[in-house]
Amino acid sequence: MNSNTDAVIAEHGLSRDEYDTIVRSLNREPNLTELGIFSVMWSEHCSYKSSRLHLKKLPTEGPCVIQGPGENAGVIDIGDGQAAIFKMESHNHPSYIEPYQGAATGVGGIMRDVFTMGARPVALLNALRFGAADHPKTRHLVGGVVAGIGGYGNCMGVPTVGGEVNFDKSYNGNILVNAMCVGLADTDNIFYSAAKGVGNPVVYVGSKTGRDGIHGATMASAEFDDDSDEKRPTVQVGDPFTEKLLLEACLELMAEDVIIAIQDMGAAGLTSSAVEMASKGETGLELDLDQVPQREENMTAYEMMLSESQERMLMVLKPGHEDIGRHIFEKWGLDFAIIGITTDTSHLTLRHKGEEVADIPLGPLADFAPLYDRPHVATPKAEYISPDDVPAPNDLGEALLKLLGGSELSSRRWVYEQYDYTVMADTVQRPGGDAAVVRVHGTTKALAVCTDVTPRYCQADPFEGGKQAVAETWRNLTAVGADPLAYTDCLNFGSPERPEIMGQFIGCIDGMAEASGALGYPVVSGNVSFYNETNGIGVKPTPAIGGVGVLPDVSQMATIAFKAEDEVIFLVGETRGHLGQSLFLRDIAGREEGAPPPVNLATEKRNGDFVRGLIRSGKITAVHDCSDGGLATALADMAMASGIGATIDLPDDLPAHAFLFGEDQARYVVTMSAADADTLEAGDLPVLRLGTTGGSCLTFDGVAEVMVEALRSAHEGFFEGLMHDQL
């Protein structure tokens, strides 16, 4: 019996207590292979040991939910026997170390999560956070990440249709790369991961196993220090070509009635897929590692179990149907190997070179997995900043141009033009609007998808920020005319071992839970990424939300561009000129402070339902929600998208800059023909007639006038300037 030294235990990211629990589970010391298996299964990444307790608070049920969190991806019913299957996941640490491959394999991984359930991926999104634009690493990271996302998604032939990009110094040493995939399947042909039954063949398909990213899952759960650049752990190289073949082969096999269970090999590779499939199926699994297709020589059991080689899947087939599978995978030029069998032992047993190299009881591996209620302190409430306490800028037009040309609001065209967003010929709303819209192939329905979160709000007030992130996706889906149905999340935080960070995490979850409940908008899948910090400096709390909605009739879709001159512009929702934590306050007044705008969920729902009703009635011609930068930037977006200007009246009860740049929530700008405008019935909803479209300028009556062309050139400048000459 070997004894594992403290150093070996620590290298595996396990505490002494955790190690002792392993010894208790086994009734003996683990060997190195077993230790490796426990370490990855009990890592933060796989076990959710710091977050599990709190994630339970999120609403996960609703009339549309077919499968909530717990499977490879969430599944919702979109009618007519069809389902949307989706999930978002982080690939933060690998992308910082090797931006191209890190981001590429992030996209590859999230696609496998979706097609392993039987869905054809139809849309990709990505939520990206980089350090300050002038930080020396930023350009390289932006260039690599964007190219990597494009490189993988484009080759797969799945359109990348949306996402977000932010720059903030809190991400200087820890960028965030969150990728989301949405797929479509038939509700009667969805695949799950429970390895049910005894004596069924366990089959490995896809690429061969190499020594890729061993310890990747533990790396994703460890914070960076200054040495990380030097250590350069092996990162995985993605092979989108093989993944495309794997996708087609899996879907082809799924059309046959032969698969009992299927699971992709993601983080912690063969270990987590085998353990999860067996645990869910309440069976045991016996694997013969000599049968695992290997790319390198002399791989040990430890290496094979911990390898994170990409583009691999594990399946349990109905016995006697192996040849059907073999035939399909060989046609696509992929490895197909029977590597084991399901058993009734409830143990994971591994054999290698004729010897038993591991024997782990699955019950204790799951049941004794650490679960922590980490100490937490709530973020102190920030003070409300009154609009009167923020001085007006010298020139409102200049302020607008500066905001539009800044890192947060500038056009993301440089990014999304590197993504094929038209492949599959169903993209009916391209990047640049409130949400992307892709048709459900061959029907008149469409899916609307978006990602959102405002980290500066979450930092100032995690609870309001969590609410706001969920509400903003709901609002963006509404703004294109969709019924928001459900969302996925990717919760990016610093170290959970610090009580302030745990406080942020819990605050955000509580806010998300409240918004989900109030909006009838459950979460069906998600991912937690902790330890996004370097030398004790954490990222801003960033719970990215990926929303999915359905348009019953795609011909009723709304877009942001003004459609004609002389139309009437309305603002739906109440404006109080909330400047705390606004971009105006940060970028024009140079202050990062105050409470973020409060989110009143009842108002949010009422205003959204009203706008969606108007869209469905066919009366409104353009819609855009108000978010970062407030009303002025919403109007500017609508003008730039169309080339048509507008003249806007300002109210006298608020300072102009607070009216124009305040970030009050639950607001939409809509346009209507003059005739329809006169018949608009809003009941007791706050609806303000703002002005009319037309001309070549955006005019704020009496205070500023900016040419639409000038808006455009400010808006387009930022990325070109930043990325010029970057390979």
């Binding site: 190219a147 484009n154 070509f241 495309k244 030029g333 999304y416 033009e417 094929d420 038209t422």
Partner: protein
């Protein structure tokens, strides 16, 4: 019109091409696996867009060696109309049915956007429904669309009217003489980087690709 769409490993616009063909011609194309060696009797062969073989080594190089390509080359040389879109264009140059090569975009980035094209030659089975010099809007989505040939070849291609489409505004990829698509000397083989199959209905943002398929349907039915 009977047509065949060749499916290479990691073709990814094969479905899009099939949808466009069926929608406009009314008949479903044959989907032909690259590993087959027989081509059904068809009036039109389509090499679709995508990343055949991951675009590894050179775009289209490995696909051009696929078993089915022997048949495609034989039929194309015998006059069967053959259309290569994006990756299909790259395959056509790699197998020698069209002159020149498609190199890495001058800006080195993948570029996805809708670009204006001018129709340079309406005297082909593909372009007869466009007006001479007409400007159409068609999306591009490629990493290697920078058309290159030596000066003599370019002069010859231009002189013989083999340039079918040119980028009308900005050249998005550095392509020689703004070339977006060319035909062979007999005008029965067209390769182009833009994707006409992605603009065949108004919901997709345009219909400027539809006349290409309509022209083929009319001529070949």
């Amino acid at each position: 019109m009977k047509s065949a769409v060749i499916v290479f490993p990691a073709s990814n616009c094969d479905r899009d091409a099939a949808v466009a063909l069926e929608r406009i011609s009314g008949s479903k194309p044959h989907m032909v696996w690259h590993g087959d060696s027989d081509l059904p009797e068809v009036d039109l062969i389509v090499l679709p867009g995508g990343f055949s073989y991951g675009d590894y080594l050179r775009c289209g190089a490995m696909a051009s060696q696929s078993p089915i390509m022997k048949e495609v080359i034989k039929k194309a040389k015998a006059g069967t109309p053959t259309l290569g879109i994006c990756n299909g264009f790259q395959v056509l140059t790699e197998c020698g049915l069209l002159p020149g090569v498609l190199m890495r975009n001058a800006g080195l980035h993948f570029v996805c956007k809708t670009v204006p094209l001018s129709v340079e030659n309406t005297d082909t089975v593909f372009t007869s429904k466009y007006g001479q010099g007409e400007v159409i809007d068609v999306p591009i989505a490629h990493h290697d669309g920078n058309y290159f040939a030596d000066a003599d070849t370019l002069d010859r291609v231009e002189g013989e009217g083999q340039v079918a489409f040119r980028y009308a505004n900005d050249n998005p990829n550095g392509s020689a003489r703004d070339i977006a698509g060319i035909v062979n000397a007999k005008s029965n083989v067209l390769g182009l980087m833009p994707h006409p199959e992605r603009v065949i209905d108004q919901q997709l943002g345009g219909t400027d690709g539809a006349p290409l398929f309509a022209a083929l349907t009319e001529a070949l039915s």
